[in-house]
Symmetry: C2
C-alpha cells in the first residue's frame, strides 16, 4: 500500500489517486446577490434552462438523478467555495438541491463563451471529479468507498481536526452506490476499530488518519 501522493513517475502502475481536487479561487464578473435555499429546496431540475451557474457561499448542494423505479444516484456534492451548474446542453440533466440551509451566488455564463479560461478550468475540474467518482464506485468495496469519501470530505473542508458531514446517510449511500444500511454498518465498523470518532451523528473526527488512508485502494 502506498501513500496518497501524486504520480511520481510515468511507470508508477498502481498509484493512489489524488482524490482531492483543489477548490477554485476564481472570481467572476457578472455576479448576482446571494440567494438562500432551505434544506431540501430545489435549485434546478432536469429540463430547466441552463446557462447560469452557481457558487456555494455556505451550506452544501447535492446533484442527482432518479431511475425509473426510484433508485437514486447522487452525482456530486458541492461545498462552500465550490462552483457547479454548468452543462454541455442548453438544459440541465440532473436535479440540484440544497442539502442543508445553503447560500448560492448565481453567475451568468458569458454570452458567447469566448475568452473564459475560468469556466474551462471549472469544466475540466468537474470532469476529473466525476472520473475520480467512477474510480470510487466502479471497483471498490464498501469500506474503501466510505474511507475515500470521508477523506475527500475532510480535505475539501480544509483538513481540520474534525468536520461535519452536511448530508444524511441516505445521501452518502446514493453517492457511493450503496444502501443506507451498509453505510451505517461501515461507519460502525470504522468507529469500533478506532479509526474514527463520531462526535455527533454527523461530526466526524479522524483518530487514525493513516490507517484510514491505507484503506483506500
Amino acid at each position: 500500500m502506498q501513500t496518497a501522493t501524486a504520480y511520481a513517475t510515468r511507470r508508477d502502475l498502481a498509484p493512489n489517486r489524488p482524490m482531492t481536487i483543489a477548490s477554485p479561487a476564481v472570481t467572476f464578473p457578472r455576479t448576482y446577490p446571494t440567494v438562500t435555499f432551505n434544506t431540501g429546496a430545489e435549485i434546478y431540475a432536469p429540463g430547466d434552462k441552463a446557462g447560469t451557474f452557481y457558487q456555494v457561499e455556505f451550506g452544501a448542494v447535492r446533484v442527482h438523478r432518479l431511475l425509473s423505479d426510484g433508485r437514486r444516484q447522487v452525482i456530486a456534492f458541492h461545498l462552500a467555495g465550490e462552483t457547479f451548474g454548468f452543462e454541455a446542453d442548453r438544459t440541465h440533466s440532473f436535479f440540484a438541491e440544497a442539502v442543508s440551509q445553503t447560500g448560492l451566488r448565481a453567475i451568468s455564463r458569458p454570452a458567447n463563451d469566448e475568452a473564459s479560461p475560468e469556466l474551462l478550468t471549472l469544466a475540466l475540474r468537474g470532469m476529473l471529479r466525476a472520473q475520480e467518482h467512477i474510480m470510487m464506485i466502479g471497483r471498490q468495496t464498501a469500506v474503501e468507498r466510505i474511507a475515500g469519501f470521508l477523506i475527500d470530505m475532510a480535505d475539501r473542508q480544509g483538513g481540520l481536526e474534525y468536520f461535519d458531514l452536511p448530508m444524511s446517510r441516505l445521501d452518502i449511500a446514493d453517492y457511493l452506490g450503496l444502501t443506507i444500511e451498509t453505510v451505517s454498518r461501515v461507519f460502525a465498523k470504522l468507529r469500533s476499530s478506532g479509526l474514527i470518532k463520531l462526535r455527533s451523528i454527523r461530526c466526524v473526527e479522524f483518530k487514525k488518519p493513516e490507517a484510514l488512508r491505507s484503506l483506500c485502494a
Copy 2:
C-alpha cells in the same frame, strides 16, 4: 417505462437518460499528422505531461487507471471522430491505450487557453459523459449496464444494423465494474433470449432494439 427522449418537463422525475452524447464536429487550427498505434500500445500514462490532446481517426482508445492490487477501472472509450486527452492538471492522471490498431491526430492546446469555446464544449461533454457513466455503474444491475453499454456503442457508431465492439470482454468488464465472467454470461443471456445476435464474437446485431432499450433503467 419511458422512451429514451430528452427531459420534456421539469417535473419529469424518472426519465430515461439521453445516454448518447453527440460526437464533436469540430476542427482545430494547429493539427499534426496522424500517428498510428498498434493494439495495446500506450498513448500516455499517469504523470506524463498533458497539454496536447487527440482526435481519433480510426480505431478506438481506452482510458483507465489501476488500483494498488491490480484492479482496473476503465474510465472511457473513445471511438473514431471523438476527442480526448485534455486534463485539469498539467500532467495526465490516467493511462490511454489503443484498443485496436488506432490512428490519432494530435492537437496542441492553445497556449493561454483563451478564446477556445471548442475546448470548453469538449470538456463539458466529457464531464457529462463521465456523469452518465456514474449513473450506469452506481445503481444498475449487470444486465442494465450491458444493455446500456451496447446501445451507447451502437449509437456512437452511427446506429447501423449491426456494429463491431472494438474492445475485449475484459475491457467491457472493467468499464462497467463487472467481471469478465459476468459480462460473458449476460451476453449469453441476451443472445438466448433473442434480443441480440452475435455475428461474430465482437460483432453485435440488435434483434429487438426496443426490448433492449426497455432493459435500461
